[in-house]
């Protein structure tokens, strides 16, 4: 395993400390228990948004803490959901009287840990569960779909709603609307390596890809031969629209998300392919992000998220945001 680290047990603390130093204008970092909170306190009565999850997906979620988006983020160990004490400490820190909205990606660990935190928290709270990954459908089992990159759309849009003064329940509802309007599918060209595991999570042949991969390197739909970018994109757009639904004329937010090890050159090429694919279907891309937003350590590959925007969602997407990873 080749990593830019010192001791394996110190990876997360050192990285968080570096994040706090690099963005000391935007955030404050607590190392014990671990959470990242906005530097500028939100106004009284604002609903506070707290997300979190395993580390290794940076900039998710700490990179989205700041005005217009999250109030706090709780990073767990790499690919491991954080613990309730982190969420509790964050909630007590950022609670501005409007209640806490937990934004949780649908993994059993995250769900259970946030649930325990909510049970322990003295005050109003509600939660949104994101489950946009269309690669693995829920019919076969009872776990439901995985939450992946659409979480960014949820955090941005709900963040803007909270900022304009929406109450806890309205925030939750709009978050659920964004989640339902979204679908994501990912593909891996290479594995990632969890520092504590020391070896790649999975093995792929020199010409193989994992279609539908999860952001922890979980298997997806199938292993197959690498295809041209256009063919990958066509399959992914098809799968997403089949699940998330989109009529001709729909306006979309498109997120072409690098898995961590993919050159920007390729991500923009993928965005070109996505644009052509959407054009051909009479769907327009009204807003977009291209870059590393919800990563899997050093994995090569990408995910595509499409979110059907309505007028309010678009307006909230456009509202100002000031975080380490998104800024307009």
């Amino acid at each position: 395993m080749k990593k830019l680290i010192n001791g394996i047990d110190d990876v997360l603390s050192e990285s968080l400390r570096g994040f706090g130093l690099a963005h000391s204008d935007l955030v404050e970092v607590s190392l014990e228990p671990r959470y990242v909170a906005r530097k500028a306190k939100a106004r009284d009565g604002k609903v506070a948004l707290i997300s979190g999850g395993g580390s290794g997906h940076e900039p998710l979620h700490a990179g989205f803490v700041g005005a217009g988006m999250l109030d706090a983020a709780c990073p767990g160990e790499v690919f491991t959901s954080p613990t309730p004490d982190q969420m509790l400490a964050a909630a007590n820190d950022v609670d501005a009287g409007g209640g806490i909205l937990w934004i949780v990606k649908n993994y059993s660990g995250d769900v259970m840990n946030f649930e325990m935190a909510a049970e322990m928290f003295d005050g109003d709270s509600a939660s949104i569960l994101t489950n946009d990954d269309v690669a693995v459908e829920s019919s076969l089992h009872s776990q439901g779909r995985r939450g992946v990159a659409a979480t960014i759309a949820v955090e941005k849009i709900v963040g803007a709603a909270a900022e304009r003064g929406d109450d806890l329940d309205s925030c939750r509802l709009i978050g659920e609307r964004v989640n339902s309007a979204s679908g994501t599918m990912g593909v891996a060209l290479t594995s990632c390596t969890v520092p504590a595991a020391g070896k790649p999570t999975f093995d792929l042949g020199a010409d193989e890809i994992e279609m539908g991969v999860g952001i922890h390197g979980e298997p997806g739909r199938r292993r197959e031969k690498l295809k041209p970018a256009d063919a990958l994109v066509a399959e992914m757009v098809e799968a997403i629209l089949e699940s998330a639904g989109a009529d001709e004329g729909s306006e979309m937010l498109a997120i072409v998300n690098g898995m961590g090890g993919t050159p920007a050159l390729e991500l923009y090429l993928i965005f070109d392919a996505v644009s052509r694919e959407c054009d051909a279907r009479g769907i327009s891309i009204a807003r977009s992000l291209v870059g590393n937003y919800c990563t899997s350590l050093e994995m090569q590959g990408f995910s595509l998220t499409l979110t059907r925007l309505d007028g309010e969602m678009r307006e909230l997407w456009d509202a100002p945001v000031r975080t380490a990873a998104l800024h307009w």
Binding site: F79, T80, S81, P84
Partner: protein
């Protein structure tokens, strides 16, 4: 008496988990996300650190403190699940169970807490597939040797199962053929407890 037992149990369980962390990781890499070994080791280390403090308490309070330690250090799915098991057992326990019957009641309460927390039951290819049959054996007063066998057999039986809960559930058919990592850690814990009881 309680003190010695609790500290022996903590040592035995924690050492077995630490020694087998890589096995758990390998299993989790096959059908999960490869962190079960690191997660369980983190919990084991926390228990060892707090061992004196925990074993100075009454049995029920010790279970509660241990459960809280697990919840606050492990994370992932296994943290709240094993943590809830201990917290559930703490609620049901008064003193150290005096016989298999009493022990089985306490263990059942722990398992019920796991089911409630995980919204699951045996048959979904999880730790419950070891914990549930082991509890039955305790309830029917089986020998320690029999309990060990059942733990191994039910671990083995998770291989052909289709995962319905946890990360492995995302694999669908591809989860078949691998043992569940949480079932393996549960079996390790059962064996460690058996070791301590046999040495009593």
């Amino acid at each position: 008496m309680t003190q010695k037992l609790v500290s022996r149990l903590i040592e035995a369980i924690a050492n077995s988990i630490i020694a087998n962390a890589e096995v758990l990781t390998t299993l989790d890499q096959a059908i999960g996300d490869g962190d079960h070994g690191a997660n369980m080791r983190r919990g084991a280390k926390a228990l060892k650190t707090q061992c004196d403090e925990i074993s100075s308490l009454e049995f029920a309070a010790a279970l509660k403190k241990a459960g809280t330690a697990i919840v606050m250090t492990v994370g992932g799915a296994s943290g709240p699940l094993y943590g809830s098991a201990l917290l559930g057992m703490a609620k049901a326990a008064s003193g150290v169970p005096k016989n298999a019957k009493e022990a089985s009641v306490v263990v059942r309460a722990g398992i019920d807490a796991v089911k409630a927390r995980g919204k699951s039951d045996a048959g979904a290819k999880t730790m419950l597939d070891v914990l549930v049959p082991v509890q039955s054996e305790i309830e029917s007063g089986s020998s320690i040797a029999r309990i060990r066998t059942v733990a191994e057999e039910s671990l083995e039986a998770t291989k052909p199962m289709l995962a319905k809960k946890g990360r492995a559930a995302f694999l669908g058919e591809r989860s078949i053929g691998h043992a569940d990592p949480g079932a393996k850690s549960a079996a390790l814990i059962v064996h460690a407890i058996c070791d301590v009881l046999e040495a009593q």
